[in-house]
Symmetry: C2
Subunit: 409 residues, 2 copies
């Protein structure tokens, strides 16, 4: 039984010349150029590269990092933390983020904005406002940014970590204040409605690190309240140790109940020592040095391979985003990336490259039949068919026609 059957489709191509005549008996190469599945990373470094607003040697370093990233991945998350996007009310960093988003899109990378609403890193000036003003400011932010980025960023983590949002108590913030008043479900409802209104075709994601029944009941409540959640986002920061197959399968089973697509939006599996288990808020773990080591790099490579495989084998999962591509600048200083601080690739980089570009890819050579057709089964996504000087692009998806004509010449 093919565990990846749900990732594939079969189609028949009929190769025609410019006069519409079938090209028979021709050896053609058929190659997946971009997965339908979204394999991504946090790609905040694209901001430096797109805007070229850092010193020259840093820029070269960042460009090399992005080159290594582009060699494997087809999806990226860009930062829209309100505190950093609009630290001064009325002066959003739209241009910078637009440049980064466009830079990625030109390179066939799907871009997601993260997040529109969160109690952490939210606009500090909300604290001066009444709750009603906070609500209006947050909705206005969504309206402005979802509208401005429409066509460039069409996937959004609309609201992040709602389970804890109204009871978050590390520091006062405008979003927790508002969520206490509105309640969780109404908060989600208002924010999703506004995002949906501004970009009806967008993919809107509800995201959380909480994978308990709390999150299940929240999703259930939101769906029954008419919230148009497109995707369930699940964080998997595993600084304290790999969840393991059993827990991962259990989480997948529980969140499959809704029949909605699932994205693993923020994965971390480090190549360093494990964070102690008694730490509850990962942000509390502050150490000077958290090195990557050869032994733990091997562990990371094994865990990444198993983790990615289990997820790719699950029919509802449509994306895996590793939170960090590189150890350089990683949250908490953790060795959380696929490449080291000096851009050298770890074994885990080679693993994901092999899985995404080889094992889970389609690259075949075959000959067209007398009637110019060739039938094949391949991983879903964007393709190129080529022979001689000729290259033509086509798509393979679940709803691809059983037969498609490709006009060449």
């Amino acid at each position: 039984m093919d565990k990846l059957a749900h990732r594939k489709a079969t189609t028949t191509l009929r190769i025609l010349d410019s006069a519409g005549q079938p090209i028979a008996g021709k050896e053609v190469s058929i190659r997946l150029t971009n997965h339908k599945f979204l394999f991504g990373c946090g790609a905040f470094d694209a901001i430096d590269v797109a805007n070229r607003n850092v010193p020259e040697d840093r820029l070269a370093f960042q460009e090399e990092k992005m080159r290594l990233f582009l060699d494997v991945f087809n999806a990226a998350t860009l930062p829209f933390y309100w505190a950093r996007f609009e630290p001064e009310q009325g002066k959003p960093q739209t241009d910078e983020l637009m440049a980064a988003a466009n830079w990625l899109r030109e390179r066939n990378v799907a871009v997601k904005g993260h997040p529109l609403v969160w109690h952490t890193l939210t606009a500090p000036w909300l604290l001066d406002l009444s709750n009603e003003e906070i609500l209006q400011a947050q909705l206005a932010r969504i309206e402005r940014d979802v509208t401005a980025f429409r066509g460039v960023v069409d996937t959004w983590d609309v609201i992040n970590e709602v389970v804890i949002m109204p009871i978050f108590d590390k520091y006062d913030n405008g979003i927790t204040r508002l969520c206490k008043e509105l309640g969780r479900v109404r908060m989600v409802k208002e924010m999703f409605a506004k995002a949906r209104e501004c970009n009806p075709e967008a993919t809107l994601i509800l995201n959380d690190f909480n994978t308990s029944i709390n999150y299940e009941i929240l999703i259930d409540g939101c769906l029954n309240a008419g919230v148009s959640i497109d995707v369930i986002g699940i964080q998997s920061h595993q600084h304290q140790g790999y969840w393991g197959r059993e827990k991962l399968e259990e989480v997948l089973e529980r969140f499959s109940q809704f029949g909605l697509p699932i994205h693993f939006t923020e994965n971390t599996l480090t190549s360093g020592h494990l964070m102690p288990p008694e730490i509850v808020d990962l942000n509390d773990y502050q150490i000077d040095d958290w090195p990557t080591t050869p032994e733990y790099e091997e562990r990371q490579a094994r865990e990444i391979e198993e983790f990615y495989t289990i997820l790719f084998e699950h029919p509802l999962v449509e994306s895996i985003v590793n939170w960090k591509f590189s150890d350089d600048g990683a949250w908490l200083g953790a060795p959380a990336g696929f490449v080291r601080k000096d851009n050298s690739p770890k074994p885990s980089y080679e693993v994901v490259k092999r899985l995404i570009k080889e094992e889970w890819s389609t690259n075949i050579t075959c000959a067209t039949n007398d009637d110019g057709t060739v039938t094949f089964e391949g991983f879903m996504g964007d393709y190129e068919l080529s022979f001689d000087d000729c290259t033509v692009a086509f798509k393979l998806d679940k709803d691809t026609p059983t037969q498609q004509n490709l006009i060449t010449g």
Copy 2:
């Protein structure tokens, strides 16, 4: 500051004779005859007494038990467990329960039916049905019983223990099967809608033993999905030990966020040893003897006094129902009642009698003014004013007119 101000109201009565003339300077007695607040117990014994379908000495015993109950309480919960109400499809125990409900109402006791929907003690014959058939059968049950009892039982625990309902795994049952498919919120929505349709004026309660964030998020989701929950029901089976003031206040605070009335629907504080803390499902605790002791009866009396006081002082709480009135036949054999197995009252019986009938009651004597009026503040509820041979009834509530005329003679 009067911590019970929210339980009281002030009104002016103008006492008139049959000719409409004020009765001045008359000494009158004003007495609360029935609390607005619902102080209740599970009163399943009323079934025996109303139907007189048990042996004579058992009947006498039950009648004495109910006499002791009626001397203190003004609310009762009657059992509508589907497995017992309709063990054979099409033959519900309507007459028996109707007799019990009427017997209680004739004695000014407000009656609640418990529960319409639950995964435990549900109709066993559901297991032969498809999920769609289970849904229809459950809705038909609600329609039949809520309609039949309208005017007699107008308060219902519509659905019980929804947090665990879809993942309950002790034994297969039709309600868990259905809830797995519909999801929690939709399950609640369907059941409440049917109950509401059949008795628009009913008080409909959502009930649970789960007081965690799970239950908060569930309520939030249901309210946002448009479910017309009138009251939040909270079970407090404290076989393993009194929650204590801190936990009780914390639970009250969290469930106050909705602004809905709260009923403590199933309280247990025993006068015996504590159930071990490692027991998760209370039903797993099976012992031969769980005696009431003088030492623990004193403990029970203190805990009951504090528990009832904290709840009566909280403005959103509108009812406390002690699950068992008597140790006789108590769930798990626990000494959970106010009276012992031989109907003798424990210290806790004297405590609740004192609180409900004396400390939290109004019984005054005063003289009418020259204009026949008398103004007083009292606990809300039904009253009798009497003087000489004359008795007249009136109500005192938050929305009572500032002045009411009472025609006597």
